[in-house]
C-alpha cells in the first residue's frame, strides 16, 4: 500500500515519494511490478537449474482429461470465485486484477491444506481464472443498467452506446432487451470460442515447456521486458521491473509471500481516496460511530485472529502428542 502512495495524492494532488523523477508522479504501474515480482524469480531459477520448465515424464500425466476432472472436482470453488469476480466486476474502478487476487486469496484461506499454493496446486489457477471469467459479465451490468462503467473496456463500450444513440439505463432492460441479451450471449460465445482454441492449441503450446532453459529463458526474459515497458512506454518501467524483480527474488528465497504486495498496490489508491473522504467527513469517530464499519471491523479482527488461534491450537495439540509419545 505504501508503493501505491507514490505519485500525486488522489485527493490533494500533492506529489509524494517521487525522488524528483517525473516518471513516478503518475505512480508505480502494476504490470512491471507483477512481472518483476513473479516472473523474474522464476526465470532466474530456470537459468540456475539449467533444465526445461517441465520434463516430458512429468507433463505426460493427465492432460486434457485431468484438467476437466480438476474443474469438475473444484466446482464449488469455481462457483464461489466466479461470484467474487462478478461482484468485483460490478464495482466501478475495482477492475479484473483485484478480482483475480481476491479469488486467489479466498482459495488459499479456505483450503484445508494451502501449503502447495504457488507450487503446483491447481486451485491456485482455477480460482483466479473463474474470477476473470466472472468479472467481465459483472462489469456489463452497471454499464447497461446505470451507465456506470465497471472498467476501462466498459467505458469504451459506454462511448459506443452514446455514438449509436443508445442510452444506458432501465430502457436497456425494456425496449432494448434483445440488444442486452445479445451482449450476454456474446460473452458466452466468446468464452466458448476461447476454450475451443485453447483446447485445440494446448498440445502445441505445452511443447514450449520441454525446451532447454538456454533457449526458453532468454526468450521469456526478453518478452517480459518488452511487456513491462509497454505499460507507459518508458524505460522507467524497465527500472521498476528490475527493482521488483530483485525484491521478488529476495521474497522467494526468504519465503515471504508476494501476493499481498500486489493486492496492496491494487487497492492502495482506492483505499486512500475513501479513507481521506471518510476522515474529512466524519473525523476519526468513523471507526466506532458507523454500525456497518463496526461490523466490518469485527470481521477483519476475526479474520486475523482466527488463523492465529487455529495455528496456536495446532501447535498445542502437536506438543501434547509429542509429550504423549515420550
Amino acid at each position: 500500500m505504501l508503493i501505491a502512495q507514490v505519485g500525486f495524492a488522489p485527493n490533494t494532488g500533492f506529489a509524494r515519494f517521487d525522488f524528483g523523477w517525473d516518471y513516478l508522479l503518475d505512480g508505480v504501474t502494476l504490470v512491471p511490478v507483477v512481472l518483476g515480482l513473479f516472473a523474474m524469480p522464476e526465470v532466474i531459477d530456470l537459468l540456475l537449474r539449467r533444465s526445461a520448465i517441465a520434463s516430458e515424464e512429468t507433463a505426460a500425466h493427465g492432460g486434457m482429461g485431468q484438467g476437466l476432472r480438476d474443474a469438475v472436482h473444484n466446482w464449488w470453488l469455481i462457483a464461489r470465485c466466479g461470484t467474487i469476480g462478478t461482484v468485483c466486476g460490478m464495482i466501478p474502478g475495482l477492475g479484473g486484477l483485484a478480482a483475480e487476487w481476491f479469488a486467489y486469496g479466498h482459495a488459499v484461506q479456505t483450503a484445508k491444506d494451502s501449503s502447495m499454493f504457488g507450487k503446483g496446486d491447481v486451485r491456485g489457477v482455477i480460482a483466479p481464472e473463474s474470477a476473470t471469467a466472472g468479472q467481465k459479465p459483472g462489469a456489463i451490468l452497471p454499464t447497461v443498467a446505470f451507465g456506470i462503467p465497471g472498467n476501462g473496456s466498459m467505458a469504451v463500450l459506454l462511448g459506443v452506446f452514446l455514438i449509436v444513440g443508445l442510452r444506458p439505463g432501465p430502457e436497456m432492460l425494456r425496449e432494448n432487451l434483445p440488444l442486452t441479451s445479445m451482449m450476454v450471449w456474446t460473452v458466452v460465445a466468446g468464452n466458448i470460442i476461447a476454450a475451443i482454441l485453447a483446447l485445440a492449441l494446448q498440445n502445441y503450446m505445452v511443447k514450449l515447456c520441454y525446451l532447454r532453459a538456454t533457449i526458453i529463458a532468454p526468450l521469456i526474459l526478453c518478452f517480459m521486458v518488452v511487456g513491462a515497458s509497454l505499460a507507459t512506454k518508458s524505460f522507467g518501467d524497465v527500472l521498476i521491473f528490475a527493482v521488483f524483480g530483485v525484491l521478488g527474488y529476495i521474497f522467494k528465497r526468504s519465503d515471504w509471500p508476494r501476493v499481498p504486495l500486489v493486492i496492496g498496490l491494487v487497492l492502495g489508491y482506492l483505499s486512500e481516496t475513501f479513507l481521506f473522504i471518510t476522515v474529512d467527513r466524519y473525523g476519526i469517530a468513523w471507526m466506532w460511530e458507523r454500525p456497518i464499519v463496526v461490523i466490518i471491523e469485527i470481521f477483519m479482527i476475526a479474520s486475523i485472529a482466527y488463523p492465529i488461534y487455529r495455528k496456536a491450537k495446532g501447535t498445542r495439540e502437536s506438543r501434547r502428542q509429542a509429550e504423549d509419545v515420550e
Partner: protein, 154 residues
C-alpha cells in the same frame, strides 16, 4: 534467538521496516491529505513487522524457502553469472532500445550457453521481426527511443 538471526526470512522482516520508517519521516511535514495514508499504513506495517520479528526471536522463524539447485550458492559462481546476464539485458535495453538490444542479447546469451549459431541467429531474427513487424508496424506499439539515440541527437 540464534535461529532467528540465522534466518534470511527474519532479516528481510527487519529490512522491510526501513522503507516504512523513511516514508513516515519524509511525510511528517506534509499536509493531512498527503501524510494520512503513509502514516496509517506505516504504523500498521511497523507494528506487524515488530510482532513478526519478536515472535521469530521467541519461537523461531517458521519459513521453508524453496531450495536452490544442488551446488548453487545464491551469492557465488553460477548464480552471479545469471544475475550478470539479467543485469546486462536490463542495461542494454534502455541504452540501445528494444529493437537492437533484445535480438543482440538472445544471440550472445545463446552462443555463450553453448547453443548452435544457426539456432541463436534464428531466434534472434524471429524476435527482431516480432518487435519490428508485429509490435511496431502492425499494432503500432510505440516503444521508447533508446538513450544512445537521444545522446547522439537523433
Amino acid at each position: 534467538m540464534r535461529q532467528a538471526i540465522k534466518s534470511s526470512t527474519w532479516w528481510v522482516g527487519i529490512a522491510l521496516m526501513v522503507p516504512f520508517i523513511v516514508a513516515m519521516a519524509v511525510s511528517a511535514p506534509w499536509s493531512l491529505g498527503g501524510k494520512l495514508a503513509p502514516w496509517i499504513v506505516g504504523t500498521c506495517a511497523i507494528v506487524a513487522l515488530l510482532i513478526h520479528s519478536y515472535s521469530g526471536v521467541r519461537r523461531g522463524v517458521d519459513a521453508k524457502p524453496e531450495p536452490l539447485p544442488d551446488g548453487v550458492h545464491p551469492l557465488k559462481g553460477r548464480a552471479l553469472k545469471v544475475y550478470a546476464w539479467v543485469a546486462l539485458l536490463l542495461i542494454l535495453i534502455p541504452l540501445l532500445g528494444h529493437q537492437i538490444a533484445t535480438p543482440l542479447f538472445i544471440l550472445v546469451f545463446m552462443l555463450a550457453s553453448g547453443e548452435a549459431l544457426w539456432l541463436a541467429s534464428l531466434l534472434a531474427a524471429i524476435i527482431a521481426g516480432f518487435i519490428f513487424f508485429i509490435l511496431e508496424k502492425t499494432i503500432h506499439v510505440g516503444l521508447p527511443d533508446p538513450l544512445i539515440a537521444q545522446w547522439l541527437g537523433f
